[in-house]
């Protein structure tokens, strides 16, 4: 049956063929949507980001609004995920908590990507002692226990969102730098780089228009796995009490509080953890799908 299908697509009419090759983005998109797991991941990611971005509109209450007549409640119509020990609506707090998680997750990844791409690309493109110095720096940073560094940074500079973001990014850029370096090294020795040089392309043109687009696949995958890792790191900091200052809601803080009352009020743990799981799984599934999408060996 497979054979018949491929034959059919070969002899299919011209419009179809042209349509199919209309753009590589569309082709990639169709590969992504055909991958069930990646699609589910994308939907989960979309849901999480949607909740975080539109927290003001979606949430039924204000996040600091306490209701002392309804403490420690389970799910009900008025509080769909229940309330905490101060009677604050958990769904509302989760939405706002997602906001900080997403800011740290995406923001740290952005910092990571910028620094990682610059360091990795420079090291690979220049080679020689530049490569050596930069990569030894990367090794040095990678050899520190990253969680400890983040803790020290947050303790020193305060428990506010930008610091959390930097604290998470401070150590995780090294992985990105390594990925970028290996990709650039691979692409750099291809013949089309030589050909581009023979046409008079400058170094900058070669990096921007030849090397980066061809090195993109693994970098995109690394980004999609990096975001949940950053979220985990941020939640980890909160869990040990170094999260964002209250009353700003934070998923990690909520999980650590819920964990203390797990026997008496399990809903206070289930809500935040459930949403956090959705966020992490969503990005991981999506990352898996992207990896399949860019993997040329698994084409067809």
């Amino acid at each position: 049956m497979n054979r018949a299908m491929s034959l059919n697509s070969v002899i299919g009419n011209r419009e179809q063929l042209i349509g199919a090759r209309a753009s590589s983005w569309r082709r990639m998109w169709s590969r992504l949507t055909k991958n069930r797991k990646a699609l589910i991941g994308a939907i989960m990611v979309f849901l999480i980001v949607f909740l975080a971005v539109f927290a003001n509109w979606i949430s039924p209450y204000a996040y600091q609004q306490a209701d002392f007549t309804s403490l420690n409640q389970g799910p009900s119509l008025s509080h769909i995920l229940g309330t905490d020990s101060l009677g604050r609506d958990l769904f509302t707090r989760i939405n706002y908590g997602l906001r900080s998680v997403c800011i740290v997750g995406f923001g740290a990844e952005f910092v990571e990507l910028t620094v990682g791409v610059m360091v990795g690309a420079l090291a690979a493109y220049k080679g020689g002692w530049v490569d050596n110095v930069l990569m030894r720096l990367v090794d040095a940073v990678a050899s520190f226990p990253s969680f400890l560094i983040s803790m020290i940074l947050v303790t020193m500079m305060g428990r506010i969102l930008p610091v959390m973001l930097l604290a998470v990014a401070a150590t995780s850029w090294v992985g990105m730098a390594r990925v970028v370096r290996s990709q650039v090294l691979r692409v750099r020795q291809t013949e089309y780089i030589q050909a581009a040089r023979s046409m008079g392309a400058s170094s900058l043109t070669i990096i921007l228009r030849y090397i980066l687009p061809n090195a993109m696949g693994p970098i995109v995958v690394a980004v999609s796995f990096g975001i949940p890792a950053n979220m985990m790191a941020e939640a980890g900091l909160s869990l040990v009490g170094l999260g964002i200052n209250p009353p700003t809601p934070d998923l990690g803080v909520m999980i650590s509080e819920g964990q203390q009352s797990i026997m008496s009020y399990p809903w206070q743990l289930i809500g935040p953890v459930g949403v956090f799981i959705i966020a992490l799984l969503g990005f991981t599934f999506l990352g898996d799908g992207l990896r399949d999408m860019f993997d040329t060996r698994s084409r067809r």
Binding site: R21, E191, A196, M199, G200, P213
Partner: protein, 325 residues
Amino acid sequence: MAPLLEISNLSVRFHSDKAEVFAVNGLDLSLDTGKAIAIVGESGSGKSTVMMAVMRLLQSNASITGQVKLDGTDVLQLPEKAMRRLRGKEMAMVFQNAGSSMNPTKTIGDQMIEPMLFHHMASARDARQVAVKLLHQVGIPDPEERLNNYPFEFSGGQLQRVMIAMALIADPKLLIADEPTTALDVTVQAEVLILLKKLQRERGMGLVFVTHDLAVAAQVADDIYVMYGGFVMERIAASELTTHLVHPYLRGLVQSIPKIDGPRTELPYIPGQPISITGGLPDGCVFASRCDKRFVKCHERPRHISISQQHSVSCWLAEGGVEQA
């Protein structure tokens, strides 16, 4: 008139951790505008290295000495920025594997117009017009539509044509073709050769054709330079290739071309392995160890002996009058 490309005493050495590689050793070459020459040699003979040195595209561990004059300017002395202005515009290159020499993430239209954009010769829109015209000239059907295709959507022969068109887009004076037909079928190879030759004549370009195939070289070039171990063994006009050749190496090469007709006899070949140019060179002739005409004098490095204006050979045999093949 000064030649378009004049190389004198060019030497290229590669330094690696372990040893020094003597890739090209004192090469002289000249090419007039509107003419075609071929550099023929086995793999490792330094034939591609010569042209990469002309384009200044060798790796940083190469040291180049000598002179490479393009239109009177020594390109080896130019700063990198000035060199970049020459690449693609004054001299362009066609590579062996068109498939891997094209950026897989860009449509061929976007790639083809790049030399024009790099050298600020036209707007993207005008450049696309030129690209369409050129694709038509090299025989790609539906050029306007094909501009939007990616390299993997072409066949090998077509891609080589696209590559040729891309090299020509900025109207270079010198076209260097580095084994452009080696990866192609024999029939497609012939088509591409005829195309290259035709374009070269029409445009009055200088063409340097690098190949390991003597038959191909004889088809395309006016003059043939035969290289071995980084030296030019013999320089000969293509028309004299079968009648006047002198050097035992070239003779061996010609004889080892299989013939389709005639009785099936054992194919003559040149015994031994191509000389290793890593580490050092022998004092005498580099070919001496494989040569069946070797004699005492071969312990000295042979000088270039001129036989006629277009014919010179570096072999002691040529000294005492030419023995005809």
